[in-house]
């Protein structure tokens, strides 16, 4: 029983990191319908920016995390405005956008490699010991990660549900042309949505680098496919679905490692993906719910 609860605890921490990544990814897709493979590279870039803030400038790791998140937001908005918007304006097809995103990702990672080198890096943080919180076994930093993820999800929920911007975002997600005709500045909303997504992406990148202790330029790509799997499990384009998907994927990975084989841990997300898509092709929460809500505007 103790092992079961501890495994759930580990899974929740993993879900927090995956959740930040998955929600950000699905947010981008919801407003632009772009499957952005440069997302992992932005996570990496944010992790390295936080490294600069923490190690080179000596800032506290939580301030460095905020800096990394803001950098992620800025970089994502630059990519949207400079790369994807021109393609979308020309009605580029899905395949073209996919290839463009892969190219952007490669360029970002190559630049980081050229500047920072291929070697591993680590943040300057004090080691911690796990403590029992009820029957869960967490370090203070992991508890902070969980708290941060919960706060971020709540903030996103409030934004989407109760703010004009959130309603506008949902309208653009449903039909950007119709939203534009209804007086919504679709271009501005899309850019800001990408900014929020970049913020989440940056947070995910820094927290991931912090969790792994030692990271290199593969850090973002190691989470990217799992985050995409979580987003698709939840229903692509559906932020609440991505949150659910992240919890499912995080727990599934830890249970897989515990009960099946540690060597197949990273397979768990994709096994779950296949099972969910066979039983619920649109994911745990399809985009239907969002469109229904948008229609209520």
């Amino acid at each position: 029983m103790t092992e079961l609860i501890e495994t759930i605890g580990f899974g929740l921490v993993a879900s927090a990191v995956v959740g930040l990544g998955a929600v950000g990814f699905t947010l981008q897709f919801s407003v632009s319908h772009v499957f952005n493979f440069a997302y992992g590279a932005v996570m990496t870039a944010a992790a390295y920016f936080a490294y600069l803030a923490n190690v080179t400038f000596g800032l506290d790791i939580w301030i460095a995390l905020a800096a990394g998140a803001l950098f992620g937001a800025a970089l994502t908005m630059a990519i949207e405005a400079g790369i994807f918007r021109p393609f979308l304006a020309r009605r580029a097809d899905t395949f073209t956008l996919l290839i463009a995103s892969i190219g952007v990702g490669l360029v970002v990672v190559s630049v980081i490699n050229a500047v920072a080198g291929f070697g591993a890096h680590s943040y300057e943080v004090n080691p911690q010991v796990a403590v029992h919180v009820w029957k869960f076994l967490w370090t203070p930093r992991q508890m902070a990660t969980l708290g941060l993820a919960i706060v971020a999800m709540l903030a996103l929920h409030v934004t989407l549900r109760y703010t004009r911007f959130g309603k506008a975002m949902r309208a653009v997600a449903d039909d950007s042309d119709l939203a534009g005709n209804s007086g919504v500045n679709a271009r501005r909303v899309t850019l800001l949505a990408w900014g929020i997504s970049g913020l989440l992406c940056g947070m995910a990148g820094v927290i991931l680098a912090l969790s792994t202790v030692s990271f290199n330029t593969n850090v973002g790509s190691s989470l990217l496919l799992v985050a995409i799997a979580a987003a698709v499990v939840g229903g692509i384009g559906e932020p609440y679905g991505a949150m659910l998907g992240a919890v499912a994927v995080g727990l599934a990975s830890e249970f897989f490692a515990w009960l099946v084989s540690p060597g197949l841990k990273d397979v768990a997300a994709f096994v779950l993906l296949v099972v969910i898509l066979i039983t619920r092709p649109n994911g745990l929460r399809s985009g239907e719910k969002m469109r229904t809500e948008a229609q209520s505007l």
Partner: protein, 432 residues
């Protein structure tokens, strides 16, 4: 139409002719006074590129020593880089480019990670390969042109098991990553431990580069091992062992690694993950034995330090066992050419085992290329004694050798010897 086809055919034949003229084949001799090439066919550009200078150091020192003694049969020799990359899909065309582009390719240092894909291509051109590849495919190598210059990974696995036994551990956990490099040592380590009566409390093969291993750490801790035998990539190790500290009340468990772990690219992230004190106190790794002080090592170090810009930070490689292995095998190959009186690999490759091996039988012991060349020119038979003693090949062209257990000194950023395992001692322990 016919004229177009004829034109294309002529151009094709010209291209083939140019390629053939420039290509390296082990059947041909170098022209008088032409420079020979020692091709470094390894991963220069990928993440493993950080380790490339280990090979460069060996090559630069060897060619420096050889050229200072007047070269090989009147030919100077130089090292040339050919980036094999880490992916066989890139390495195969790279090998073809090397074979067609290098002039007077005498031998190659490498291939390494991509050896199983590229060795047949290089061998088909009858070029001698000096490789430290751990690919188990070469444990029973039948390619006459392929020489493994360090003991095989399965022997390294036995050495790791033996060191754990010698350290007094009765119950150990095994932690290896689910990657091809580590998988070659798991079975030899496990078999070695069983032969020695050491109990394996947990045998974990983990997916590399995960964001967390807490579940796996708990499984390992629940088995109560006295020590952990491990090989993973540096990032996996950093994540795993930092979480082990977190979940074990800040207490580290003795960690024993393989040759892949006693390098700075593994040790430095480990220091950042678990602290310098823990690394110094709890970490050891077994690896190919380093060179011993003597004339061969002095010669290597002399020309290493004279290598100029060819080798960045040459001081780092003064006692690096893999660099000295590449140096020794390059010098031995050069002596084989002198003994065979030929620069054609097809002719000299059989002499590599004749200029190396155990001393005695009336052979003159030599420690440098200059000494060997002088003795051969005087009509004597020689045995080249390398930087860590005689170079003994088994029937599969795999080198037999000693192992050492090293501990890392974070303050001085270097490894220190904690013990040595001779080949005889290891064979006896394994009941061979």
């Amino acid at each position: 139409m016919r004229r177009t086809l004829a034109g294309v055919l002529v151009l094709f034949l010209i291209a083939v002719g140019i390629t053939a003229c420039g290509s390296s084949s082990g059947e041909s001799e170098a022209g008088k006074g032409e420079k020979l090439t020692a091709g470094m066919f390894i991963d220069f550009s990928g993440p493993a590129g950080e380790q490339a200078n280990i090979v460069v150091a060996g090559c630069a020192a060897a060619t420096g020593s050889i050229n200072a003694a007047g070269g090989i049969l009147g030919h100077e020799i130089g090292c040339e880089r050919f980036d094999a990359g880490a992916d066989p899909a890139d390495a195969v065309p790279a090998a073809s480019r090397m074979l067609s582009g290098a002039s007077n390719l005498a031998f190659t240092l490498g291939p390494e990670e991509v050896a199983s894909a590229t060795a047949p291509i290089i061998s088909a051109q009858k070029i001698v390969m000096l490789s430290a590849s751990g690919d188990p495919h070469f444990n029973e190598n039948d390619d006459p042109f392929f020489y493994r210059i360090v003991p095989a990974d399965n022997v390294a696995g036995q050495a790791q098991a033996y060191w754990a036994y010698k350290s007094g551990f009765k119950n150990v956990a095994m932690l290896f990553e689910n990657g091809s490099g580590a998988l070659t040592v798991i079975e030899p380590v496990k078999e070695g431990l069983e032969k020695l009566g050491v109990n394996v409390t947990a045998n974990l093969k983990v997916a590399p580069d995960q964001s967390s291993y807490r579940t796996e750490v708990q499984s390992l801790l629940a088995s109560h091992p006295e020590a952990i035998l491990s090989e993973t990539d540096p990032q996996t190790a950093a994540t795993f062992f930092s979480e082990l500290l977190e979940l074990n009340g800040g207490q580290m468990i003795p960690l024993q690694g393989t040759p892949a772990t006693v390098v700075s690219s593994y040790e430095e992230p480990l220091v950042r993950a678990i602290g310098a004190e823990n690394v110094e106190k709890y970490f050891e790794g077994t690896t190919v034995a380093a060179a011993e002080p003597g004339p061969a090592l002095s010669e290597y170090q002399k020309y290493l330090l004279q290598s100029g810009s060819e080798v960045p930070e040459p001081e780092l490689y003064k006692n690096e066992p893999y660099s000295t292995a590449f140096y020794d095998s390059s010098v031995a190959t050069a002596l084989a050419m002198v003994a065979a009186k030929s620069t054609s690999p097809e002719k000299f490759q059989g002499f590599l085992t004749k200029v190396t091996g155990s001393p005695g039988q009336g052979k003159v012991e030599v420690h440098t290329f200059a000494e060997g060349k002088k003795a051969l020119e005087a009509g004597k038979q020689i045995v080249y004694m390398g930087t860590n003693g005689p170079i003994i090949w088994n029937q599969f062209h795999n080198r037999e050798g000693a192992f050492q257990a090293l501990a890392y000194n974070p303050a001085e950023r270097k490894n220190e010897v904690r013990g040595t395992i001779t080949p005889q001692e290891l064979k006896q322990a394994m009941g061979e």
